[in-house]
Symmetry: C2
Subunit: 256 residues, 2 copies
């Protein structure tokens, strides 16, 4: 039954979606069956793997209001072994709509329970917020992978995120652990990048992945072609970095 | 009485805070009295102008629960003529806490009404979401300035943002206009940057600022020193770009 990993950081634009798409795809290439869940109303992971929003009649919101079995909503992608549970801008209404509903933090957990037997890994792309959708992801997950852009504001928000993870562990999901902190958009030419990475390793030690994702424009180009980097440009720095993250992710799992 | 401008885009990491801090500071340097309102629980604008969160006893949340007069919460910054109404991570509770409260969309408007007589301009830095705090900013504002990172995902979210602005204009704030779309993190060497800028100008014409903010690492370094770019490195590309935005912003105002 699948291990569920939330990819979360309330700081915006740090590489959550880019990591969700490309780590999932890299593991699928290694032969694992992977589900990518888009839990962000922006639906960037959905369009980033080539699914046009206008064509989408079924998505995560329909699972939450129990109108459809989750298996009906899941779709294949261009990568063999990688499926997606798509999002839609309609999801933005969940925050207010479910505020009075009992167990509103477990909507996603219930949705994924019926899907877990069919996959090795399930990755959840989160929105840049600590609202109800991200809480749902933290409740449904075994672990949290935290992309950290190698810039100042990204460091600042980590305290709040780690506190939220601790609170979720105390009250809603006692098994939740941190999968790791993944440095992203690292630019070897910039002192700022090196300083932030040093600070991360100093404060968080082995929680920080050895692999660093370098800034690479091919990663920013790939979504406009609706493809993960491994299909868009498999020889790029970005593709190599995410393949290395996939290998390190598997090696770290083996240590538990 | 001040013109109020919301700086909003639900896409994360597109340069909202960087624009809020540096455009405010550039206008203060020109001799205008400017208030920067931090309406994001991440409080990046607050720390970016050098105010440590641990030292903060009064902030925007206290204005919302009417415990304190807004004038008591406003603080000066290192730039003459620029004040800040600080945020705090406690603000994240507003989303759920005020859900049943009547007129919950007008909390910020009421707070700013007592401050408007003291300034020429009030800029509101928004969180990467279309939740209640951003709605409050759109209700309190005369116009919305939309930073758009010159990358693919940033283009995608514009439709949803423009729709939200239209809905707010219809039901809550009939005078709300778009101040303009400001291209950010433009990298002259990248085809992607040029393509996105072309697309922006094609779809939105004169709504797009002529001035473009180039990618410039000095802009990313400045917040870790708690200074706007005009104090951190006034000769940098970033400082020149935001001075040019300030001039264009004033020239566009004169056209109304
Ligand atoms: N390593 C990288 N090198 C270059 N560009 C990158 C890299 N990683 C991500 N990007 C680009 O940076 C922007 C932000 O990344 P992304 O959208 O994945 O972040 P996010 O954390 O998911 O954002 P949000 O908070 O809005 O959900 C996107 O345009 C993306 O294509
Ligand atoms: N023109 C630029 N050149 C280089 N770096 C920039 C530029 N503008 C912003 N940055 C950096 O990019 C990151 C994202 O910018 P910023 O935090 O201002 O975006 P935001 O839209 O406010 O993010 P959020 O959605 O989290 O509120 C920050 O680390 C910032 O320092
Ligand atoms: Mg994302
Ligand atoms: Mg910001």
């Amino acid at each position: 039954s699948a291990r569920v990993i939330a990819i979360a950081n309330q700081k915006g634009g740090v590489g959550k979606t880019t990591t969700a798409i490309n780590l999932s795809a890299a593991l699928a290439l290694e032969g694992y069956r992977v589900l990518l869940v888009d839990a962000d109303p922006q639906a960037n992971a959905t369009t980033g793997v080539g699914i046009p929003l206008q064509e989408l009649s079924l998505h995560l919101y329909h699972c939450f209001i129990s109108e459809v079995a989750p298996r009906e909503v899941v779709r294949p992608t261009a990568v063999d072994g990688l499926d997606i549970l798509p999002s839609h801008t309609d999801l933005v209404g969940v925050e207010v709509e479910f505020v009075d509903r009992a167990e509103r933090e477990r909507l996603l957990q219930r949705t994924l329970n019926t899907l877990r037997p069919h996959y090795h890994f399930i990755f959840i792309d989160c929105a840049p917020s600590l609202g109800i959708l991200t809480i749902n992801a933290l409740v449904a997950a075994h672990s949290v992978l935290i992309p950290v852009q190698c810039e100042y504001f990204a460091l600042e928000g980590l305290g709040k995120l780690l506190e939220t993870i601790r609170l979720v562990r105390q009250s809603l999901n006692p098994d939740l652990v941190i999968e790791g902190l993944l440095p992203t958009m690292y630019d070897t030419r910039l002192l700022l990048s090196r300083q932030v990475l040093e600070e991360l390793r100093y404060h968080f030690g082995d929680l920080v992945f050895q692999t660093v994702i370098h800034r690479n424009t091919r990663l920013a180009e790939a979504p406009s072609h609706g493809k993960p980097i491994c299909l868009y440009d498999k020889h790029s720095r970005g593709a190599r970095d995410y393949a290395a993250v996939a290998r390190e992710f598997l090696a770290r799992l083996a240590q538990y």
